[in-house]
């Protein structure tokens, strides 16, 4: 409790405003200002191709033609998945080639400050390096942040619309940045059935244990009421069908797919429905809950899906 108070008092002006958004006061200038209205048919781009560089180039092209990251936005927080002490090939973490290409693209459009905060599951000194993401971040002059040892960066936010999760200590880096992008890896998950986009935010909070103790699926849906990334890019180049979240999986399916959307709930639903066996989709209850809570459209039929081959 003491720590929470401390971080509350140490809030900067900017955080204060964004913290306000969190509490639902200033919705209009939230970080998801360019977020498409939730009622419209969400646009999903599905890019297929073997070359990861080409996949990400196409993805950046889509982002840039569709409003980009917004004008005058200079800082970006990228949520990758680098939670596990596993190599890129094993499919437990976001693929470093995709991250590399994305960071390059961000530099090209003039984004100055890029941070990659992550509260990893295995010790960060292993996961950041073994996932290969630390090296590509360094190459592109982006800062990778180990939230596990940067406890001061968590800010307590109140989730008005949260059902199970009414309060969460969320990493300040995402609230201080102009742009938030979520780049998870899609894979099987022992606890949640599947982990794709929404579940990835568990790596941005301080106390994951609370989620497990208080109906995990509801908490995952609840976090989507607060954090709405500008873009969600799902790495489904290879997907674990079992032994998730860390593997090594008995069945690692090579799908060579990248899913891009502004709507994380729709992206989650689309990826879960089309890339994984029905059984796993059924187990990922948080998707349905998010749909019922009106956080996004989860019916694949109602989505505006654009398939692209590269």
């Amino acid at each position: 409790m003491k720590n929470c108070m401390k971080s509350d008092t140490a809030i900067s002006r900017r955080t204060f405003i964004k913290g306000g958004i969190a509490a639902g006061i200033l919705v209009s200038i939230s970080p998801s200002g360019i977020f498409a209205a939730e009622n419209q048919a969400p646009e999903i781009w599905v890019i297929h191709g073997e070359d990861k560089v080409k996949l990400m180039k196409k993805c950046l092209e889509i982002i840039n033609t569709d409003g980009g990251f917004g004008k005058g936005r200079k800082s970006l927080a990228l949520k990758i998945n680098a939670g596990w002490d596993r190599t890129p090939e094993e499919g437990a973490n976001t693929h470093p080639v995709l991250v590399d290409e994305f960071l390059k693209g961000c530099r090209d459009v003039g984004i100055r400050e890029i941070v990659l905060p992550e509260n990893s599951c295995h010790p960060a000194n292993k996961t950041f390096v073994k996932s290969g993401i630390f090296d590509v971040a360094k190459k592109n002059d982006a800062r990778m942040i180990d939230l596990g040892s940067d406890r001061k960066s968590f800010v307590k936010v109140v989730l008005d619309k949260g059902v199970s999760l009414k309060e969460v200590e969320f990493s300040n880096y995402f609230m201080e940045s102009d742009i938030v992008v979520n780049m998870p890896v899609a894979k099987h998950h022992g606890g949640a059935g599947l982990t794709i986009a929404m579940k990835n935010w568990m790596g941005a909070v301080r106390d994951r244990g609370f989620w497990h103790k208080n109906s995990l699926h509801q908490c995952i849906a609840d976090i989507a009421t607060f954090i709405k990334p500008n873009w969600t890019i799902i790495d489904a180049t290879r997907t674990m069908y079992d032994s998730g979240p860390q593997g090594p999986a008995k069945e690692l399916k090579i799908q060579n797919i990248l899913i891009v959307s502004k709507d994380q709930v729709a992206a989650d639903a689309y990826a879960a429905k089309t890339l994984f066996p029905e059984k796993l989709y059924e187990r990922a209850k948080y998707i349905k809950i998010a749909g019922e809570m009106g956080l996004g459209i989860v019916d694949v039929e109602k989505m505006n899906v654009k398939k692209i081959e590269v």
Binding site: D85, H122, P123, V129, R143, G190, G191, H212, S215, G244
Partner: protein, 415 residues
């Protein structure tokens, strides 16, 4: 000319002291040191200046701990290569006496440098070094070296606990020998070296002088007899302590084998604790009747996890208390078995889905034992579990400990 030789000796001493300090820093450099050099970095990559195995060089120089471990376990775990440095020092002692103490010993350097100004109060009348030395020799012979933790090179290696981020309450007590004699040296100069050091006594004893070895032994008969009469019963008592329950096993570092061998061989130099990157390896708190276990390195999974891809601690043991395990062997060695405490477990007790332990387990050792309604509940497969502690570390239950806890086993084995 005289001044000149003094300068040479002090240059050599400082050189060896710096070398010893650098060797202590083998393995991953503590984060707080790295932070000094890169204060703005938010993630500091593990940095290894010297490979972890070098942490064993300083403590394994000692001919005394070598001799003691040779006696205790007939040297079955010692690698031939490591005989060489103590053998050289022992030979040097035959011809030059305490040459090691005067030129090389890092502890000796620090003590003599610090006590240039002192009160010259001789409060210590009796030399205890002889008793300690013979105590070590006799108790080692029956398999439990008693005072081997007083070996000066182990003492020096232990100091690193304060810098490597391993300083716990339990670590303060064994770590206090060094600063205590630093202060004692200010009152009576070199009180450690002249009155306590068992290694120094060994060197003195080996020194070939006009006094015959047989005469020297006769001069020491009081020390020999007292040590014989006291150390053997004491060592026997600690080894076969009737107060210790047979099923009470600590979780030991991989390669330690079993409790008996490890507890007796370990000189408490804590080289293994210092090179542990996650700090799961810590100094055992003396909270039980098993005196032999006191202050020995043990695993505490609340502090960290035993990483799949690490065998640092197995590389550094100077006396072979921890056997060197190649990566593959370490990966398949069982050091403990996790057990679910059903009365605390979210799934077993509250009927909520959790399975965090299964999620984190790198060896897929946690099976699901579904309830009637199909809720997955964790159960450990003891055939696969290595005892790495990641489940205990990750368990969301924290009220009076986790709901899944690693327990020690009688004998470590390969799976």
């Amino acid at each position: 000319m005289k001044l000149n030789s003094k300068t040479v000796r002090w240059s050599a001493r400082i050189f060896f002291l710096i070398a010893a300090i650098l060797l202590l820093m083998a393995g991953p450099i503590p984060v707080w040191i790295l932070k000094i050099f890169q204060p703005s970095e938010s993630f500091i990559r593990e940095f290894i200046m010297l490979p972890a195995w070098m942490a064993k060089i300083v403590p394994s120089l000692s001919p005394l701990s070598f001799l003691s471990s040779l006696e205790t376990h007939q040297g079955s775990r010692l690698i031939v290569l490591w005989i060489l440095p103590p053998a050289i020092l022992a030979t040097a002692a035959v011809f030059k006496g305490r040459i090691f103490c005067r030129w090389i010993c890092p502890l000796g350097t620090v003590y003599s440098a610090s006590c240039t100004k002192n009160f010259k109060k001789h409060f210590l009348k009796k030399k205890l070094s002889g008793y300690l030395f013979w105590g070590i020799i006799f108790s080692s012979a029956i398999g439990f070296p008693l005072f081997i933790f007083l070996d000066p090179l182990s003492t020096f290696s232990r100091v690193n606990l304060a810098f490597s981020g391993s300083l716990t309450l339990a670590a303060v007590i064994p770590g206090i020998i060094f600063p205590a004699f630093l202060i004692a040296g200010l009152i009576q100069p070199m009180s450690w070296c002249s009155h306590f050091c068992p290694l120094g006594h060994m060197f003195d004893l080996m020194h070939k002088t006009n006094v015959k070895y047989t005469d020297r032994f006769r001069n020491e008969r009081r020390e020999v007899v007292t040590a014989f009469l006291l150390s053997i019963p004491l060592a026997l008592f600690i080894r076969k302590n009737p107060l210790v329950k047979d099923e009470d096993y600590p979780v030991l570092p991989p390669g330690a084998g079993n409790k008996d061998t490890f507890s007796s061989l370990c000189t408490r130099c804590y080289a293994c604790v210092n090179v542990c990157p996650t700090k799961i390896l810590t100094v055992g708190f003396p909270d039980n009747a098993d005196v032999g276990r006191w202050f020995q390195p043990e695993m505490n999974a609340y502090r960290g996890t035993c990483q799949e891809s690490c065998n640092n601690c197995t590389q550094v043991c100077p006396v072979g208390a921890i056997r060197k395990l190649p990566f593959e062997e370490k990966h398949s060695t069982q050091i403990g078995i996790a057990g679910v405490i059903k009365s605390k477990c979210i799934a077993w007790d509250q009927g909520e889905y959790c399975m965090v332990c299964s999620e984190f387990c790198p060896y897929v050792a946690i099976d699901s034992d579904p309830s009637e309604s199909g809720l997955a509940r964790p159960s450990v497969n003891p055939e696969i579990c290595r005892g790495c502690g990641i489940c205990q570390n990750a368990c969301p239950v924290r009220k009076n400990g986790a709901a899944i806890v690693v327990g020690g086993i009688r004998e470590q084995k390969r799976i």
